[in-house]
Subunit: 125 residues, 6 copies
Amino acid sequence: MNKYENGLKIREAVIGKEASKLVSDSLADIAPILDQKTLLEFDEAKTRNILDMKQREMITITTLLTQGDTSNQLNIHIQGALNVGITRDEIIETFVHCLPYVGFPRVLNAVSVAKTVFGKNKHCE
Amino acid sequence: MNKYENGLKIREAVIGKEASKLVSDSLADIAPILDQKTLLEFDEAKTRNILDMKQREMITITTLLTQGDTSNQLNIHIQGALNVGITRDEIIETFVHCLPYVGFPRVLNAVSVAKTVFGKNKHCE
Amino acid sequence: MNKYENGLKIREAVIGKEASKLVSDSLADIAPILDQKTLLEFDEAKTRNILDMKQREMITITTLLTQGDTSNQLNIHIQGALNVGITRDEIIETFVHCLPYVGFPRVLNAVSVAKTVFGKNKHCE
Amino acid sequence: MNKYENGLKIREAVIGKEASKLVSDSLADIAPILDQKTLLEFDEAKTRNILDMKQREMITITTLLTQGDTSNQLNIHIQGALNVGITRDEIIETFVHCLPYVGFPRVLNAVSVAKTVFGKNKHCE
Amino acid sequence: MNKYENGLKIREAVIGKEASKLVSDSLADIAPILDQKTLLEFDEAKTRNILDMKQREMITITTLLTQGDTSNQLNIHIQGALNVGITRDEIIETFVHCLPYVGFPRVLNAVSVAKTVFGKNKHCE
Amino acid sequence: MNKYENGLKIREAVIGKEASKLVSDSLADIAPILDQKTLLEFDEAKTRNILDMKQREMITITTLLTQGDTSNQLNIHIQGALNVGITRDEIIETFVHCLPYVGFPRVLNAVSVAKTVFGKNKHCE
């Protein structure tokens, strides 16, 4: 299994098969190189196993929240956080922990995305 | 022990007694309310025990790296990360994990601060 | 009247009863702690009476404009600015004053939100 | 021809007559001074002829991508980039070149806007 | 008196003669156009007299605090705020008011610059 | 010649041998993976030859200026811009072109770095 295939396997495990396919499809015509590069990132992250997938997704949703204008990416990675076993309470607490560092607007935006993602996962409770 | 005293105890445990005193001293004349507010944050973080201190400091250094113009705060919280038991390799890997989300400049700035902090902790190795 | 009740009274006065209820309702299921924290902020702001409510809302819309990705919050606080007595011309001039510091995109985004909010207040002219 | 008329002529040439009119119309009631100021900017950019219009639009879409929360402006200036003769491949490569400096979220957001703009120009291929 | 002369007079009144000369001198060799453009901004701000100079400097230090990486500019405009009659307490309260919107790092950075500026003005107390 | 060797050759050509070695040395002990990753970026940029090196460095200094808190990186890439043949006037005009999009603070910070870099290249005039 080469790096791209391994990256795909990990990406599917983290963000879900459907979301992974959506990423590929949306980039296929216009910038396929970006799709390949995300695969390499997922492959690498797993290879350097200093942090586990729960820690990685917690870091990911933190950096996305902080950066702003990332609702599409938060959407994918809040689902990713759930997929790798982070609980809803831990996701919200991650966001609340960021409050003194970034203020309400960034945190409330992220909570709003979380609400949508949690709503879609209702049947899984 | 009231909330301020408890917050102080936790802040001293996380960022160190000396750094905690420096924060208080630097704000004493000009904006003591901000010192009190940081104490409340440390008190609260501990009270809502959904995340442990290692997770919290990992989130903190991630949000600081992402935000930019935070070298003073990274300085304090990279030391905080070491103090609560995050290893050097985990700190650097946290920064490297952020690379695909924020790019080189933010990550290299954070690594540069980490180098200074790790240097000061050499005797502890 | 405790701090939360006082904060609620001030929040209702600034952003309006309806918007205040929307904030509470949207956070009730997912992160009620954030609702309580905004109440404390409104309570505090009034207690430290160094700045009046007009100055505070002017500062608020300035920081929101500058930060970016804050259209939801600008929506609420442009209404808040009107509610505490800032005129439309003063709101727009606040945004125009920011132009040399932040550039057109942030300013035009804020003006666009203002246009929507002013439109909703037409009957009050 | 005065500076405003010259600026209008250049703005129409770069972003298109229709988009130029939309900018004017959207600001006419609320902040006409901002419309006039954009005209002055277009006039000036042409006067200081150190960079050509292709270089200017390449710089513009780069700064917009980097800043975030600029989808409206990217929409206008990706079309502008096409209008002054930058190819689709060059636009996408400009975005991909930014990846190591700003990370995936900013780049993917810009690519997503480009996809919409390219779609509207299909008949011109 | 033309626009540049009027702008210079206002800039000197706001940020001080010495700081105004430093801005000109630092840009003289490398980008004199930027010096001229700041003069136009000061001229314009006064002409559109919807906000007074105290309000303008309060907005200015707010947008600079929020943006980050602006210690040079904050240095000049915190002095400017004092020069137009904003008190130290009002400056600090402006920064504290931003806390729930932007978080501690931006606010503490601004307070740190204020401390330096206030120190230089000690003889004026 | 493998990708790392090719990347090194290009990095040396763009930012200079000395600066390239400084990057490697500063990361050797703490995060060598980041040094390797920058080499891959330089290798790739050259391979995808849709944009030439002058265009790439112009994009690079634009994204760095816009992002803020990037004086170290601007230092390296303003020199890089000179090395690949962008003139001083073109560099300054690139920064001035960004002014209406990002405002004075970011532009003045970049001009200040350019002044230092240009000063070091005085003997080459």
